[in-house]
Amino acid sequence: MIYLDNGATSFPKPPGVSEAVARALANPASPGRSGHKPALEASRIVFRARKKLAGILGKADPERMVFTPNITWALNAAIKGIPLEKGAEVISTALEHNSTARPLRELEKAGAIVWKKIHPRENGLIEAADLLPLLSPRTKLLVLNHASNVTGALTPVEKMRRLCPDVPLILDAAQTAGAYPLEDFARHADVVCLTGHKGLLGPTGTGGLWIRPGVDVRPLAVGGSGSNSESLEHPDFLPDALEAGTLNTHGLAGLAAALDYLEERGIENIRRHELDLAGVLLGEAEGISGLRILGPSGNLENRVATVSVTLEGYSSSDLSSALESGYGIMTRAGLHCAPLAHEASGTFPGGATRFSFGPFNTPEDALAAAAALRELSGKRRAV
């Protein structure tokens, strides 16, 4: 099997992750809820993951690193939790995943916000200057994906931040965390939303958000926290304020082990490795008849290692099936939970077939993908 669906979830996980999950599952206690030794050990597992994740973001304060079940929850928590006056204008890119688009649409539909979108240029890239005409005194929030999960295009977050330094910025780092040095972009955001199971190489069911000091995020859910138990009011201090309910201790144990691996291998090394593989596929795919590559071409520095394509004569699902059945290559077909990005790319509603590389892929994997596309293109012409 050649696994090229790391944009959905990374596979395989690094050595040590499944062992850490199994060890934590064998420890039967709940973190932060009791004072006995197994509970203390569970608390230490969560603490270690929290400290490591904040550390990898370049942040020294683990209390501001909140865990959530996934990044969808983290984005909902941030988008719905930052207090906005009625009619506030919120700006996102037109390449957002539904994890951002749906909460924004819900607020828009309720008349709570006005939602504006920055469209990519012809080359598939978002230009920071295109933010300018959308800004107004009523702009109260910016929500940006750091990289598109469809085209791989990087958003120029730093430049956009400079254009509106006082507008709170929520960054969706689903496709970049672990695949791009995190400190570089975390410093531009007020809230950084993360998932643990993609580039961070941990188990599913882990995610979180880091919140800059001074930024107020109200809780989506309240309940058990193990703190302020005498009160019917949920605690207002982080991380407890946004962590109602028992955490995924064994998942976080696996995430901490995955972060150990990332530290050891180096995120910049992983970025280079994955981009090299994307470069091999993009180079080899050039000239394949009927093949269209979505998003930016040329400069690899504008993208992450996610390459979506369409091939004339194949629907996105037929192409994905042919890649699996004929070549053992796993890809993802369809809209990738990002209809806006496909509309912007001209591939709505049929979608595209996505190849997404991970740290364990090899140049041979990329060459095999290109060879398969070439052969399938030839078969199409023969029909």
Binding site: P31, G32, R33, S34, G35, H36, L40, S43, R44, V46, F47, R50, P62, E63, G226, S227, N228, S229, E230, F237, L238, P239, D240
Partner: protein
């Protein structure tokens, strides 16, 4: 370095119980004090002083002069400090006095 709770040492000096606002803060404090080989032990929060479900830190009073400034400097001041003598807990003053 762990030294068990010592409700009273016979010289009129007893145990201090430190309650932190969050579980994360007490574990930050644990990591810091461990790295400096300072004596303390984590205990279930005594229900006489706090209804929460988590942990508290127990120090022998004689060690407080070493431990408290370290916590202060790291911005890890406990939320509440109690002196335990026998079964009785008394709140300690917020500033110094240990």
């Amino acid at each position: 370095m762990e030294r068990g709770p010592n409700p009273e040492d016979g010289r009129g000096r007893g145990e201090l119980v430190l309650v932190f606002s969050t579980n994360t803060r007490i574990l930050l404090a644990e990591e810091l004090l461990d790295s400096l080989d300072l004596p303390f032990v984590l205990i279930p929060v005594p229900k006489e002083v706090n209804p929460n479900c988590g942990l508290a830190m127990s120090l022998q009073e004689e060690d407080a002069e070493l431990v408290m400034p370290v916590l202060e400097k790291a911005d890890l001041r406990p939320k509440d400090v109690y002196r335990r003598r026998g079964g009785a807990f008394t709140v300690q003053p917020p500033e110094g006095g240990f």
